[in-house]
């Protein structure tokens, strides 16, 4: 999906109305509102819509629903207790079955949790990419010079990735930022390809993120001994694959003196 300026404006306008922009972006947005009549008109229109929806008559809880729910729960019997009383002869079999069930559902839950974590990881990386696009710049340090970006990371993070310049392969280095994934600050290198922004987030090694599309952004991930890399962009999958090849080929870049 190509995020046009208009799209970004709409997301930002909505986030501003919903009070979800950070204070700096909100201040920035207010300055734009003051100087852009068309944006201001869209803001007023959106506000009038929100007002109209919010002033719809409130739907009240039907009288007695809470009492009906309570009554229904009173007849709800914990099924395991009932079974135990009825069939006390099969207690051992039941206990064995319960244990077996616990093992099975335990491993299923673990798989589900791992899956959820993995998907969640990709979701967080994409969320940071989107936040980057919504911010005035998608990076904290702007520099097309890797000798500036790499030391900037080194000064802030325990582990900092190589920052290759891939301009020859069509991916211009824009800068870097620190994202927070889970509770860990991680380095994200930002590249530009034509009008598209690529965020390359570097996680600790040994994590797996599947190739997928989230909210219209393509996610591609690979690993080496130092990092698990997650690239996010609105570029087509094939271009993101080319980016991976270029990045991998560029490593390891010569040590910075």
């Amino acid at each position: 999906m190509v995020v046009s300026l208009r799209d970004n404006d709409d997301l930002q306008l909505n986030a501003y109305c919903d009070g979800e922009l950070d204070p700096v972006s909100a201040g920035e947005f207010e300055r734009r509102l003051a100087s852009d009549a068309s944006l201001k008109a869209r803001y007023d229109r959106l506000s009038s819509l929100r007002q109209a929806v919010r002033s719809l008559p409130q739907i009240d809880l039907p009288a007695g629903l809470q009492a009906r729910i309570r009554a229904k729960l009173d007849t709800e019997r914990p099924s395991n207790v009932v079974v135990l009383r009825r069939r006390s002869w099969s207690f051992q079999a039941l206990a064995a079955a319960a244990l077996f069930g616990a093992v099975i559902s335990g491993s299923v839950m673990m798989t589900i949790e791992q899956y959820a974590q993995r998907e969640n990881l990709a979701g967080q990386v994409v969320a940071d990419h989107i936040r980057g696009l919504l911010a005035p710049q998608p990076f904290d340090i702007a520099s097309s010079d890797r000798h500036t970006v790499k030391p900037w990371f080194t000064a802030r993070l325990p582990q900092s990735p190589q920052v290759p310049d891939l301009a020859a392969q069509g991916f211009t280095l824009l800068g870097g930022r620190v994202d927070v994934i889970g509770h860990d600050p991680v380095a994200t290198i930002v590249y530009k390809h034509a009008a598209h922004t690529v965020s390359l987030t570097t996680l600790r090694p040994g994590q797996s993120v599947s190739e997928q599309t989230i909210a219209g952004y393509n996610v591609r991930s690979w690993s080496d001994v130092n990092f698990t890399y997650v690239a996010v962009s609105d570029l087509p999958g094939a271009d993101l694959a080319a980016f991976e090849r270029a990045f991998v080929a560029a490593e390891p870049s010569p040590e910075i003196k």
């Binding site: 709409d10 002033s55 729960l73 979701g123 989230i214």
Partner: protein, 185 residues
């Protein structure tokens, strides 16, 4: 053989504390998702039962989001079973329609002039009708945002989608709503 009913007092106490305080909101959400009172009541009863049975899975973080997520999921499976036609899903739309909704909105990339962007003057009935017409996924995020007044993070948790999707659905949903209200005459 008579079987004594054994109440698990702890679970009942937890249910009363976690789920019951959000009953009015739960009902409101179910009402907006189904469009009528009797369906909403069925769903809230079913959701309450699910919440009670699963009260041990409550992670003690956000009781409101946890409760509304159960109501939301109950409503979607209930709609899928009983009112499949009402449940217009984005994935049911043709690829073109989907692209239109997800990417272009109704007016494509055309930028309106300030004069065209008149304020909405619709009465409650018209707004309600337009909101009812929205595909469920868009209606859901707008109701959670404006009626239940949840923030993006909680909406993402309840609808089980990333925050980016919440943002794009809110933006598109509101555009659709404005278009529906604008086209009504």
């Amino acid at each position: 053989m008579s079987v004594p009913v054994v109440q698990n007092e702890d679970e009942r106490a937890a249910f009363d504390e976690v789920f019951l305080p959000h009953l009015p909101e739960a009902y409101r959400l179910a009402h907006w998702l189904t469009g009528n009172a009797s369906d909403a009541e069925d769903i809230v009863q079913e959701a309450a039962l699910r919440a009670f049975r699963g009260i041990k899975t409550f992670g003690a973080v956000n009781a409101r989001a946890w409760s509304l997520a159960i109501v939301r999921n109950t409503a979607f499976s209930w709609l899928g079973k009983n009112r499949p036609k009402a449940l217009v899903s984005i994935s049911d739309l043709s690829a073109t329609e989907r692209a239109e909704l997800e990417q272009e909105g109704l007016h494509g990339t055309r930028i309106e002039t300030p004069e065209e962007l008149v304020l909405l003057k619709a009465d409650a009935e018209e707004v309600q009708e337009a909101l009812t017409k929205l595909p469920t996924q868009f209606r859901e995020v707008i109701v959670l945002r404006e009626i239940n007044q949840m923030n993006y993070r909680d909406i993402a948790e309840i609808a089980n989608v990333p925050i980016g999707t919440v943002m794009s659905r809110l933006s598109r949903g509101r555009q659709l709503l404005m278009a529906l209200l604008g086209d009504r005459k």
